[in-house]
């Protein structure tokens, strides 16, 4: 059997996304506010606590709260992208086992959900920029490119683990802890460490570099972005995504009948 064409995948994926959106918010009187409330409350609390506990680092030209929210947006893109394929797999495994629609469309819908969440958060961050009277650098558009690549990487990794997570619930239960650790190991709420164990962790954690790159691109320009390395990362991400999406369809067909 040959796979379905990209047009059909996107067509079905768009409808899955719209349905998810309706199911999620139809019974909520506060509607889209729920998309932003958790981030706003958690971010505000963390920013407040960070300042009180003295982990915010030396004061700079950019307010601590703004740096925190920017970091949260970056890490949350990856977390959402890792989780969304699992969510979609859980919700649509029954349909995939009875209707032969392209499984990749679930990834398109997952990408839509990640994009929607990102758009909401960026709107919130833009409001914060206005509130603190900080002007984003002209390289902000490149930062958006970084986020898209990050979303693709997250989606590719999420697509790899989603089918197995349907039957192996250790993966499902364990992922929130992994993403929690990721938050702690990434300099979002505190400055980058240059020495000691934390320094090693920061060096080894790719997300550290993404957070720094995005912050630099948005706040001060592209000074610290290693462009050749970034190009390699982009190409590797695209290849990983392609391999992962191809794997996803067959893996779902193997797993879904047993869910």
């Amino acid at each position: 059997m040959t796979g379905p064409d990209l047009g059909k995948i996107i067509h079905v994926g768009r409808h899955v996304f719209v349905r998810e959106f309706k199911l999620r918010y139809r019974r909520a009187d506060l509607g889209l506010l729920w998309a932003i409330l958790p981030l706003a409350l958690a971010g505000a609390m963390i920013a407040h606590l960070g300042t009180r506990l003295g982990v915010s680092g030396p004061p700079g030209p950019v307010p601590y709260a703004l740096r925190v929210f920017l970091g949260i947006v970056v890490v949350q893109v990856l977390v959402d992208a890792l989780d969304a394929p699992q969510q979609m797999a859980r919700r649509y495994s029954g349909l995939l086992a009875t209707i032969p629609f392209p499984g990749e469309s679930l990834l398109v819908a997952a990408l839509g959900l990640v994009g929607f969440n990102l758009a909401i958060r960026l709107t919130f961050v833009a409001a914060l920029f206005a509130y603190y009277d900080v002007t984003p650098a002209p390289t902000t558009l490149l930062a958006l490119g970084c986020l898209v690549v990050l979303a693709l990487v997250g989606l590719a990794l999420g697509a790899l683990i989603a089918p197995v997570s349907l039957l192996l619930w250790d993966v499902r239960f364990g992922l929130p802890y992994v993403t929690g650790l990721l938050y702690l190991a990434t300099p979002v709420f505190y400055p980058v460490a240059s020495e000691g164990l934390l320094g090693l962790i920061h060096q080894a954690n790719p997300l550290t570099h993404v957070v720094r790159a995005v912050s630099d691109l948005v706040l001060s320009g592209a000074a610290s972005v290693p462009w050749p390395a970034a190009a390699v990362v982009v190409v590797a991400s695209l290849l990983l995504s392609r391999a992962s999406f191809a794997h996803y369809r067959r893996a779902m067909l193997r797993i879904c009948p047993h869910v």
Binding site: V12, A97, T98, R254
Partner: protein, 426 residues
Amino acid sequence: MTRELEPALRLDAVSKAACDDAQLAERHAIRDALFGRPRGLRHGERWAVKDVSISVGRGETVGILGAKVGDATLLARVMGGVLLPDAGRLDVRGPLAFWSQLGKGFKPMLHVGENLRFYAVLMGAPAEGLDERCRQIISFADLGGSERRRLQDLTRAQVRALAFATLLHIDVRTLVLANVSVPSDDAAFHERASAALARRLRAGSAIVFTQRAQQLPEATDRLFVFKEGGLLSFEDRAAAIAYWELNHADLEAAHAHRTPRAEPEDGDDEPDEGPPAEPPPPCDELAAHVRDVRVRGMPSAINETSFVFDPGEVVTVEFTLAVHADLGSPSIVVQLNAAEVRQPLAVGAVAPPCAMSLVKGKSYRVAIDLAIPRLQRGRFGVTASLVDAGKRPVVLKLFAFGTRTDEPPGTATVFDVRAARVTEER
């Protein structure tokens, strides 16, 4: 008679393995998802479908008689593209639709139009003309003006009609139907939908899987009976149906103890509307009905009486069958299910129970001796069905308490039905 037609769907030595131990099957599936499926059988597996080769030409309609809950379903799902074959090759030319559970994925809280659009898109409707198509579907289902109503405001019969109308309005070249029947709640809709289905089958290629001979389309070009993992080809329709009638009860009983897992539910938090179940037929459409049930000689009421049985105890269940259609000499299949669970724990068959034929308009006293298997504590239903080809089964239910066996999930023990006696009532 073999027709040389351009193939719309071709299976080349397709095999599908099944594992009756659900836990083991899950482990195999995880390995397959990660590393791909190795060739051949693994521990605990058997070939449910073995080396099936068939080519369905453009415009051809093929009928396959097979047990509803058996390995035939696996073959239907492989042909329908929702299961991967474990060996061999499946080649589909052009768009294909698989009809198995009407309205699967409908959400009660969404509007009729929203449900329809989504269902139609999943079934293969293109983006162009989707709104117009939805209007046609609603009109066909006689639900004009319902587009903005929530699905939960419709009756189940209306939901069934809506789902079936959707299927009829999606253009695909090849259809695979697995135990799908035209909803019969509304006579006018039934007639309209049956005619439309016949037109659809004539217009493209179709493979119709069914366990009821009367559901086979009249214009079937070729007929097969699914048996022991393969397809038996029949030149003659009457011969195929006769063979199926003779073997149906045996096949159902044989498959029941290795039933594939139940269809997975849509995992949404929101409960699924579909697939809406067919309602029981009105009494005058029943082939027979049951009255005067006695268990251990004591009067009992269907569905209402509970008993405590000892493992190994032989219980005599008697009942009177008022027969409304000529049933021939049917088999009696006895199933034992845990309460609220469809998949039987134990199955037994008496085939046929008597030398005499059950004739329309007469009543018969039936007595079955069955040995209660070892059960874990719980509430269990005993169901006795008269099984003949094409007729709806006649069901007798009573309840038992006991202790269950330690059989792994997904398997059923053989229910020891010692004897059955049938005498005509004066």
